[in-house]
């Protein structure tokens, strides 16, 4: 899978979200459980406490009802006592249910026993009272029942104490649980912070080291060494894209500098050669006394070589103007058909000298272009002269022009020797010579096709070439058709 900072950040984010969600769920469940356990314990213990207190009250009120009955003999007190008794039995049952510890259970058992004794004492007192022994009844009420009541009261107090201590214990355990929960939340939170921190640290370091790499490479690039390239292996997608863009730029720069280097070397060679000829001719002429004819010959050679230099310089200036200052070249809108017919007419006079057959296929309807007619005719003559140069006597040159949609295609085909696959990409290079010029001829300094291409580009068009050795060449010019 391709490496990417975006993917790394996303993965880090997902891990973080997962850890956060995990911690939150854990904390939530723990809190709820703790809460439930605590509330249950509290509820049980509090109700036990309440039960014990009510037990005490019930015991007391039973005695109260009985003594009231002894006072006025009204059976309503006994009825109320029975009601209370039922309630008391209920509470006792509840207390034995909520009793959890053995100590509580023992107390409840004791209370049960004591209560039975209390009841039997009460029963005995009532019987004595009913049989008229008021004294005996009161005696039981104040002594026997009292003793049992005291004992029961004590048991209830014990029961309350136990429950209170249970509540205290559960408070402590809750506190412990809260601390545990805090640890449970804090530790993953710290882990998350650590993970996120180190992730961003590593990510930043990775980005910075890649950037530093690029910076070092680009700092070491200068005119003398343009061959350095930024490493693109083992890089994240985004960095790889940046590195590749920089490498493409360096590639283009290197090519441009290579081209300029070669071009300057070519200019040097092309200008020094006529100078060397002029100097050599003059030196040789002056080495000894010669005939006037010899001097004339030397001087006319010098003039021709000077003209050659002038032509090179003019062409270079023209190319520089096309390349760097094309705004000053005027354009006009014109019909291409009569313009091209005129070129054909002039080309006929050129081919006639070499016995080459020139044909032209020109459309009849008007084709409007916007451009500089002088430069465009130079473009076509450069192509035609090039064709004449490489086509042997008896050969053929075809000129064709036809509109295709928004563009006009103009071809110059010849039956010449053709261009080898090796030379084909270089024919538009400046100072590319297929073969050495003859100084007498007006072309052949190696700039003709380069100028033609620059003129086509100036007109927002282009030139392409198709050729193979022995099969002739076809140069095709593409120009945009003008729409008003």
């Amino acid at each position: 899978m391709q490496k990417s900072f975006r993917r790394k950040i996303l993965n880090g984010f997902l891990v973080m979200v997962f850890l956060c969600a995990f911690t939150a769920i854990l904390a939530f469940i723990t809190t709820r459980n703790t809460q439930k356990v605590f509330f249950n314990t509290m509820r049980d213990n509090v109700s036990s406490l309440k039960a014990a207190e009510e037990l005490e009250l019930a015991l007391l009120s039973q005695r109260g009802f009985l003594s009231s009955y002894f006072l006025d003999g009204n059976p309503i007190w006994l009825k109320k006592l029975e009601e209370k008794k039922a309630n008391f039995e209920d509470w006792l049952k509840k207390a034995s249910i909520v009793a959890l510890t053995p100590a509580e259970k023992d107390i409840i058992k004791d209370i049960n026993l004591l209560y039975k004794r209390y009841e039997s004492e009460r029963y005995r007192a009532k019987q004595l009272y009913d049989s008229g022994n008021l004294r005996g009844a009161k005696n039981i009420l104040l002594k026997g029942m009292w003793e049992v009541f005291e004992a029961l009261y004590q048991k209830c107090e014990d029961y309350i104490r136990i429950n209170e201590s249970i509540i205290r214990e559960s408070e402590i355990s809750l506190q412990r649980k809260v601390i545990g929960m805090m640890i449970l939340i804090t530790v993953p939170a710290l882990v998350i912070v650590g993970l996120v921190g180190s992730m961003f640290f590593l990510l930043t370091r990775r980005i910075l080291s890649a950037v530093e790499d690029i910076a070092i490479t680009t700092r070491n690039i200068n005119l003398k060494s343009l061959s350095g390239r930024v490493g693109t292996t083992d890089l994240e997608q985004e960095m790889a894209y940046l590195a590749q863009s920089i490498n493409t730029m360096l590639e283009r720069l290197e090519n441009s500098f290579e081209y300029i280097k070669e071009f300057s070397s070519s200019i040097g060679h092309e200008l020094k050669t006529p100078l060397a000829i002029i100097k050599g001719q003059s030196e040789i002429a002056l080495r000894k006394e010669r005939q006037a004819e010899d001097y004339r010959k030397a001087l006319s050679v010098n003039i021709e070589e000077a003209n050659r230099m002038i032509r090179i310089v003019e062409d270079l200036v023209f190319l520089a103007k096309l390349d760097y200052n094309p705004d000053n070249i005027k354009k006009e809108v014109f019909d291409f058909i009569p313009f091209f017919a005129d070129i054909e007419k002039r080309a006929q006079t050129l081919v006639a000298q070499k016995q080459i057959n020139l044909t032209a296929s020109i459309p009849e309807t008007a084709v409007t272009l916007e451009g500089n007619k002088l430069h465009l005719s130079r473009l076509f003559f450069n192509l035609i002269q090039n064709a004449i140069k490489f086509t042997p006597s008896g050969g053929r040159i075809d000129l064709t022009a036809h509109p295709e949609g928004d563009i006009l295609k103009v071809s110059v085909s010849d039956t010449g020797q053709g261009i080898s696959a090796e030379d084909l990409p270089r024919v538009f290079q400046r100072f590319f010579h297929k073969e050495k010029s003859q100084p007498e001829s007006s072309d052949g300094i190696g700039l003709g096709l380069s100028i033609a291409k620059s003129i086509a580009k100036f007109h927002n068009g282009d030139i392409g070439v198709k050729s193979a050795p022995g099969e002739g060449s076809t140069f095709t010019v593409i120009l945009p058709i003008y729409h008003s």
Binding site: H269, K272, I277, K279, Q281, E283, I284, R287, E435, P439
Partner: protein, 124 residues
């Protein structure tokens, strides 16, 4: 009479050097392409070759190797418009190097030196 072969695609250089060296008492032939030069080397004997570097098609560097194939001891003077340091970088081991811009007197001196001394190699 010592025989010299001039290999130079510039016709006028060939012509003027032929006049010059003939007047200096040498027998001179001019070849303006590698093909022509090879034909001369096969058929005739030469004491020295005057070799240009930049030529269309087969250039001076390749031509130098071809000459060495014919005769390992052939005296070769490289003659070009490039500065001598650049010429030495292009073709290593020639008997001498001549910058055409320096003029013909220096060329004649170098030719005589190489032909008489046998070993007057310009060293880096």
């Amino acid at each position: 009479m010592k025989r010299i072969l001039i290999i130079d695609d510039e016709r006028r250089i060939g012509q003027s050097y032929t006049v010059l060296l003939t007047e200096e008492g040498f027998e001179v032939k001019h070849a303006s392409s590698a093909q022509e030069a090879t034909n001369f080397l096969i058929r005739e004997h030469f004491d020295l070759v005057l070799l240009d570097i930049k030529m269309p098609g087969v250039d001076g560097k390749v031509m130098y190797e071809v000459i060495r194939e014919f005769d390992r001891h052939m005296k070769v003077i490289v003659s070009s418009v490039y500065p001598i340091e650049e010429q030495v970088q292009s073709i290593l081991g020639a008997s001498a190097y001549h910058n055409k811009s320096q003029g013909v007197d220096i060329l004649v001196d170098k030719i005589k030196e190489v032909l008489s001394g046998g070993d007057s190699k310009e060293r880096e």
